[in-house]
Amino acid sequence: MATALSLSHLGSLMRGVRSVDQVGAEERAASLAKRSIKKSSKLWALDLAIRCMDLTTLEGSDTPGKITALCAKGIRPQPGDASIPSVAAICCYPAQVADAKAHLRGSGVRVASVATAFPSGQSFMSIKVAEVGEAVAAGADEVDMVIDRGAFLSGDYQKVYDEIVEIKEACGDAHLKVILETGELGTYDSVRRASILAMAAGADFIKTSTGKIQPAATLPVSLVMMEAIRDFVRETGRPVGFKPAGGIRTSKQAIAYLVVLYETLGPDWMTPERFRLGASSLLNDVLMQIEKERTGAYQSGDYFTID
């Protein structure tokens, strides 16, 4: 549950959040990316990457047909190979939630809906709340909201905080992932501050990016957010999940995120309940690498279904 914070103190509290050293964070992330993950541990990591994947489509051109195809792919990524698990969730726009829900029923795959005037968040609060309400009513198990970066950057932390609290209420039982859109926040200090703010306001997950802004997820940004989670858990005891999203296209990248996760938050976070990978084109590369680990040879792309 969200902790109520005194209105007048939130600003100074935010400014008191411990600083991040840019050089140090980037160096640490780069050194972790050099870990060499081979054989059985690679297979395990790739399997986990699928189980933690939010298979995503967020296009203006999304149609019921596209959603049908994506849901089928999410439930059974590699037809004919039951050893490949389903993804964690299908992530789509609110208007597609009902369709996705219908296809996924009984499969264990969840429906995640972006909301709150995604991706910019530049709309009226009443509309954002209504949008979340409708998405949940249509069957969304998880809501991916965006924070108001304009308010955050202008120093109006209270507005950002209140919005998250309100959206969390509108979510009801649905899980709330809060997108910071780190590519617009400018510094690691802001990323850390926004992470703490979102967690204090009740986020179940904090998420890097919408995928619509460059840079999207990066390893150092993820490290900084995970460190914020680690500190938040230490102080409050409430575990918060983490979701990097945007630009994660290869197995190698996905494994690097898992390594940083493992060495920052530890084995307890290596589960879909606490970690998600937001990606639209990562899945087939993971399947291809699994096949390569098993058979020793790369298979043609034609052996992997597109959606």
């Binding site: 140090g24 060499s36 541990s41 986990l48």
Partner: protein
């Protein structure tokens, strides 16, 4: 389907264990025994004494080298002396060309050098691969650039080379220390006789091969192997004009005493007991990494290691809690595994020294912390160790341990931090962690240490001078300052 299901449950219960990822060694050729590199080729030694060099991670014998005697050292120095005339008169741009060539070959043979360095010394392959070898190549590259610009390095002076340089290097960074010694000496037009450490002679033997590959004129670089006795023969040889030593303060003092009145020039880079000072406003996660890098890098076999952690009392508790958690994630094991963070202790003797000092710490009343950590059965190993409740007077807070052992002390004010940090006979390096730029400068002015790192630690660059205050030695290596010990200025 059944198989698939079993496979699934196996995966679901499995933990994230990094499978071994060892660097292969099959492309490295180590000779069963080596001679001495004198006058441009490997020669048979006069001395009949040989000793084995082993892999400290497995205790397996890698090769045998000669314990060079007086005759051998004399031959080496004479070869260097003969080569001096033509080398020092060689067109400087041609000298530069040889150094550039060596730098390039070091890069080309980087993988081989990294593997040999790790096998012979026990350091993790990720360090020899990412630090030792690239920095060695960078050092030659940097000094190659100075070779034909010495008159610009010392305006209005006439820099001239000195003669034969006798150089004795330690076992913690065998190739890098070789580069630090040989590159500036050669760039300035000197010739050298180098003695690598007795436990780590192999990368120097490989370097001898590189000198031949680079077609360096015979006698410009000579390498004699051996222990302390051979080292003292090198530095005391009458034809040696300049002595450079990196190693313990104890031996440094002996050398200084023995050279008194000889007219030989001397530079010493000796021990350290550096303070790594963390203020309450420091970026804490970066500081944790800096502390870990400061003392556990190369198993703490670093003369500038941040072996004393001075932490402001107001943040001591959360910082130590985080640091202990972080120590638990350090991976100790096979140095050739690319995922290893902490390798083997360089030798049995060093392991005994570390063990003795750690025991003294416990006896004196400090609180010991070691993460759960399985040590391999063979080889020399010591787990990452942290001492709290350390008082300034304990041996572990005063003596150089040269192992993965950190002593934690606290302070209340910046003035107290300065006082405690400087309260040591050593003065090689210091680290300052704070978000406040003005405090960094304030501290740096007051640290009696050759290097002060701000919000980082153990960072090296060939353009930056390195060296000590007080009993950490004198003379600088690296940068423009690194040329000074190798030139006569008129």
């Amino acid at each position: 389907m059944a198989i698939a299901k079993r496979h699934r449950t196996e995966l679901a219960t499995q933990k994230f264990e990094y499978a071994p990822a060892p660097e292969s060694t099959d492309f490295v050729k180590i000779e069963p025994h080596y001679g001495l590199f004198i006058g441009g080729k490997m020669t048979a030694a006069h001395s009949k004494k040989r000793f084995a060099t082993i892999n400290p991670a497995t205790e397996a014998k890698l090769s045998e080298v000669v314990e060079a005697d007086e005759v051998d050292v004399d031959r080496a120095v004479k070869a260097a002396d003969r080569a001096f005339d033509s080398w020092s008169r060689l067109d400087p741009s041609r000298r530069a060309r040889y150094l550039f060539r060596i730098s390039r070959i070091l890069q080309e043979r980087a993988r081989e050098l990294a593997v040999v360095e790790t096998m012979d010394g026990g350091k993790p392959i990720k360090e020899s691969r990412d630090v030792d070898v690239p920095l060695s190549a960078a050092h030659f590259f940097y000094y190659a650039g100075w070779a034909d610009k010495l008159e610009w390095a010392f305006p209005n002076r006439k820099p001239r080379p000195i003669g034969v340089a006798g150089q004795v290097i330690p076992w913690n960074f065998p190739l890098l220390m070789l580069a630090w010694k040989i590159a500036p000496a050669l760039a300035a037009g000197n010739t050298v006789v180098l003695k690598p450490a007795e436990t780590t002679p192999l990368s120097a033997m490989l370097f001898a091969d590189i000198c031949q590959q680079a077609e360096l004129p015979p006698g410009v670089v000579n390498i004699v192997t051996g222990a302390g006795k051979t080292g003292s023969l090198v530095v005391s040889h009458p034809a040696v004009q300049k002595v450079a030593f990196t190693g313990s303060t104890e031996v440094g003092k002996l050398i200084q005493r023995s050279l008194a009145g000889s007219g030989k020039r001397l530079t010493l880079e000796l021990g350290g007991k550096a303070a790594n000072i963390v203020f309450e406003d420091a970026p804490m996660d970066a500081a944790i990494e800096g502390i870990v890098n400061g003392i556990y890098f190369n198993q703490g076999h670093v003369c500038c290691a941040g072996s004393r952690l001075l932490v402001q009392e107001s943040i001591a508790e959360p910082l130590l809690e985080k640091l202990k958690l972080r120590l638990g994630t350090l991976r100790l094991g096979d140095p050739l595994d690319k995922n290893t963070d902490i390798g083997a202790i360089n030798s049995k003797a060093q392991l005994d020294k570390i063990t003795g000092l750690v025991e003294s710490g416990v006896e004196e009343g400090a609180e010991l912390f070691q993460p759960e950590c399985k040590l391999p059965e063979r080889g020399f190993w010591f787990p990452p160790t942290l001492f709290t409740n350390v008082s300034q007077s304990y041996r572990i807070a005063r003596e150089e341990i040269f192992g993965p052992v950190l002593s934690v002390l606290t302070f209340r004010t910046p003035a107290e931090a300065v006082e405690k940090a400087n309260n040591t006979p050593y003065g090689l390096s210091a680290g300052v962690w704070t978000d406040k730029g003005s405090r960094i400068l304030w501290m740096a002015e007051r640290m009696r240490a050759g290097v002060v790192w701000a919000n980082t630690f153990n960072r090296f660059d060939p353009t930056s001078p390195f060296g000590g205050y007080k009993e950490s030695g004198y003379g600088r290596e690296g940068g423009l300052h690194g040329l000074l010990p190798y030139v006569e200025l008129n």
